[in-house]
Every structure is written in C-alpha cells, then in structure tokens.
C-alpha cells in the first residue's frame, strides 16, 4: 500500500526555442514547429556544427532592469523568466495562509554560467592577465544554485533551497527531489526550475569534441530526427522550464487549479560509461519498471511515452530496446514521441520542459509529434507508433517521461491526469 502524500503540479512556465511562454510553446508544440536555425549567438563558421535551437526574440530588458541583466548569466535569466510565469500561473503567492518557510526552491542546470566563465577568462587574457579585472559578480553568475537563491530572494521563499546536477537529467532529478521532500513533509510546495544556456563557443565546441552533435550543416532544417536511420547526433537547445509542485492537500486547501499528478518516479545509474548509454539498456529497463511500481500501475496503462531520444545513433536504440522489454507487444499500442525533434536538447532544462510537455499532453489529450523523422531505423524492427509528423489525439491518463544524463544517470517520471 502507498501511504505517501499525493503530489500535484499547479503551475508552469517556459522559455524555449519554440515559444517564450506557455501559450506560444503549447501552440507550436502541437503544430510540430521546429526551433532550429543557424547559430546567431557567435560566429560558428569554423565549428563542426553551425546550427542550434536558439530562443528567439528574447530581450532581457523586457524582463529585467538594466542593472540586473549584468548580474545574471543567460541561464539564470531564462530560469527567472520561466519561474515568474509558473509562480504567477499557480496563484501560490496569493494564498493568504501561505507559510513561506514551507515553500522551497530547487533549481537545476547541467553546467550553469559557463558563458560567464568564458567571458571572464577572455577578459583576463586580453587585459595582460591582470587578475584585478575579474568581476565581483563572476562567482554568482557562474554558480548553478544562484537561480534557487535569486528565486528565494525575489519571492521571500524561505523553505529548502538548493540545486541538483546530473547533466541532461538535472531538472528531472529536481522534480523527483521536490516530490520526495513534499512527501516527507519538508515543504508544502516547491518551485522547480531547470535552465541551460549552452549556445556559445565553449558549449558547442566541447560537445563537438565529443562528436555528440549533429553536423548536417548543409541540410540542418531536419537534422534532429530521432529514430531515423540517418540521424547523426543531437541538436543543441537552450531555455528553461519551471513548475510549482505541491502536496495535493495544500493545493486543495487553497483551491488551486491542478494540472496533473506526479504519480511515480525512479532513478538509478548505468555504471557503464561516462557518456555512452549501456546498449542493452538494462538499468533504464529497471528504472522504468521501478517507476511503474512506484506509481502502483503494474499493469502499465501508459498512453504516451515521452522519450529522452535525442537523435543520437546509440541512445535512441538503447531506449527503444528498453521500452520493448518493459512493455512487450503492448508497446505498439502506446504513443511514443520525441519532442526534442522540435526543441533541440535543452540539457539541464530538458527534465522540466519535457515534463511540461507531458502535462500539456494530458491537459489537451494530444500527443505532440516527432518531426523530421522519415525513414525509421531498421534496428527498431517492430511496428511502433512514433507519432511521426503530426500531433495525434488520444485519451491520455498516464504519461511516462524519461530523461537520461551523461554519467549514466537515469530518471523516469510518471504523470497522471488528475481526477478528484
């Protein structure tokens, strides 16, 4: 029997390559829009990869005072933009009996303010290595957990406050940590934010060195094509997502609009290789099984599997093989989709933004598509519904959301349609 408190989601916010708020993100998600384009943030002409999914039409002055902008690395700005939308959407701060010492903040990012680090070191070398010119905001701009700190300061939230880091699973771990802390009674509500701003020389250059990114420069419009036999790596994205996560009891007490329930989760490690997933996927199999057990749905009534699939040759197949083991022949009747085909890979922000996609699927009873995929890799070897090209309508009660990260970190989350 499960005696843990039910935990629900009551607010969300985003800034992504396919929409700078929930409304435009939702529209473009279900329209199957791509966020891809040539890199505009720096001169990428000598890089193996010259395209990415950038956030569009973002003017920091629309959200921050001029003085603030300089103090926040771009990853922090994105996080604060998404968090504001999520908090406002939830109405949490309007609750007159809110105990702000029981409202926490967990922020997540893969690497935080690397662009700041890059800029500060550039200045150092340009200024004849004069160490006096390091900026006093260097540290706070770079630190991953600054986001949690700034959110607490801005809104006076005095509950638990920290960051989780696990590469591309960072913000999925943040969600799991939030759920557990609420279940343990450590908080009534927790704001979770995942963000990443990796489109700069260091970000693209380092992932190019790993040969992790697609290099289809001549034909980049449909470069991100999970499960396609001609896929050649992931496409870098950027942005942030934020959630307000709350105990059901607290949400109902304040009459909140409940978007979905987080009904199960699991996390483990491959213990295989620092970047490559285990081809047999034995630990992601166990992880999904454990999440289903945690959600107490051993008959596996999943309607939509929101895959991690990033469009890499090894990762996509390992995940599909794991799904086959977990779901057997039932897999062909489940909608599988890879929204990274639209958004690119938001790294540390992927866990939250893709959880928001899962929630939107439940709200709208629609599965967003896997775009760009034309010729399905024959290694998949089974007739699956990969939701190619177009959104599909479906009765959705349960969504399984996978996120995996370099280091062999595996997470699975199960979202459930909320019914009173």
């Amino acid at each position: 029997m499960k005696f843990l408190k039910p935990v629900v989601i009551t607010g969300y916010g985003v800034i992504t390559p396919i929409g700078n708020n929930i409304q435009s993100f939702t529209n473009n998600l279900f329209l199957g829009k791509s966020g891809i384009g040539s890199i505009t943030k720096f001169d990428a002409s000598k890089f193996r990869t010259q395209f990415a999914c950038e956030v569009k039409n973002y003017q920091p002055e629309d959200f921050f005072e001029k003085k603030e902008v300089r103090k926040y690395d771009l990853f922090t700005q994105y996080a604060l933009v998404a968090t504001k939308e999520a908090i406002e959407h939830s109405g949490l701060l309007n609750y007159s009996n809110l105990d702000k010492e029981k409202v926490g903040v967990i922020s997540a990012s893969g690497v935080g303010g690397v662009q700041t680090f890059q800029q500060e070191m550039k200045t150092y070398y340009e200024q004849a290595k004069n160490p006096r010119y390091f900026n006093p905001f260097f540290v706070t701009k770079m630190l991953i957990d600054s986001v949690a700190g700034y959110v607490s300061i801005q809104y006076g939230l005095k509950g638990l406050n920290f960051s989780t880091v696990s590469a591309c699973a960072s913000s999925a771990h943040a969600i799991i940590s939030a759920v557990q802390n609420i279940q343990l009674g450590m908080a009534d509500a927790i704001i979770v934010a995942g963000s990443e701003a990796p489109i700069h020389e260091a970000g693209i250059g380092s992932f190019n060195a790993l040969r992790a990114l697609s290099e289809k420069n001549d034909n980049f419009e449909n470069a991100c094509r999970p499960f396609d036999k001609n896929r050649d790596g992931f496409v870098m994205g950027e942005g942030a997502g934020a959630l307000v996560i709350e105990s059901l009891e607290h949400a109902q007490k304040r009459g909140a609009n409940i978007l979905a329930e987080i009904s199960g989760y699991a996390m483990n490690a491959d213990a295989h290789h620092i970047t490559a997933p285990s081809p047999a996927g034995e630990m992601i199999i166990k992880n999904m099984q454990q999440a289903l057990a945690n959600a107490q749905i051993l008959n596996k009534p999943i309607d939509f599997i929101n895959t991690h699939a990033t469009s890499t040759p090894i990762g996509d197949i390992a995940e599909i093989n794991a799904l086959k083991t977990v779901f057997g022949k039932d897999l062909s009747s489940i909608n599988i989709s890879a929204p990274k085909s639209m958004t690119g890979h938001l790294l540390g922000a992927a866990g939250v933004t893709e959880s928001i996609i899962s929630i939107l699927a439940i709200q709208y009873q629609q599965v967003p598509p896997t775009i760009n995929t034309k010729e399905i890799d024959e290694q998949i070897g089974m007739d699956l519904n990969l939701t190619l090209g177009q959104t599909q309508k479906r009765n959705i009660k349960y969504v399984l959301n996978n996120n995996f990260g370099f280091g062999g970190h595996n997470t699975s989350l199960i979202f459930k349609k909320f019914t009173n």
């Binding site: 005072e65 003085k67 200024q127 006096r132 010119y133 390091f134 900026n135 006093p136 905001f137 706070t140």
Partner: protein
C-alpha cells in the same frame, strides 16, 4: 566638468543603472545610488580598468561618494 568626471559618470550610469541627473558630487554610492557591496567593488574595478591604475583597498574603502571618486582619480591619473 572634467574629462575624468565625464568618464566616471558614464561608468556609474552603466553599472548602477541610475539616471545621469542623480550623479551629483555628493551622491553616496550606497545610500543615494543604491549600490550593494558587490556593486561598489565592481565600480572600483571598473575605475581601475578605465584609468589603468591600481586603487589600493585602503584607498577604495575611503571612496564613498561620486566626488571622492573623481577627486581620487584626478590626483592619481
């Protein structure tokens, strides 16, 4: 206004996001221009960079107003 004062003013406007009219010689960085401790440190660093000099910490601690900053720079640049 001296050329040094003009350059000082420009830095303050940019770093503290204040209006030019607020930058009087008597304006105190922390009290009037609402600079926090890190922003004050940043201003000193920017003055060093702009005027290519070193402002020792014990000197920097004494610079509390716009006028004091200009006076220090005018006699040391």
């Amino acid at each position: 206004m001296s050329e040094i004062a003009e350059r000082v003013k420009k830095i303050i406007v940019e770093k503290l996001g204040v209006e030019e009219t607020e930058i009087t010689p008597e304006a105190n960085f922390e009290m009037d221009l609402k600079a926090d401790s890190l922003e004050t440190v940043e201003l000193i660093m920017e003055f060093e960079k702009e005027f290519n000099l070193v402002i020792p910490d014990e000197q920097a601690d004494k610079i509390k107003t716009v006028g004091e900053a200009i006076a220090f720079l005018e006699s040391n640049v």
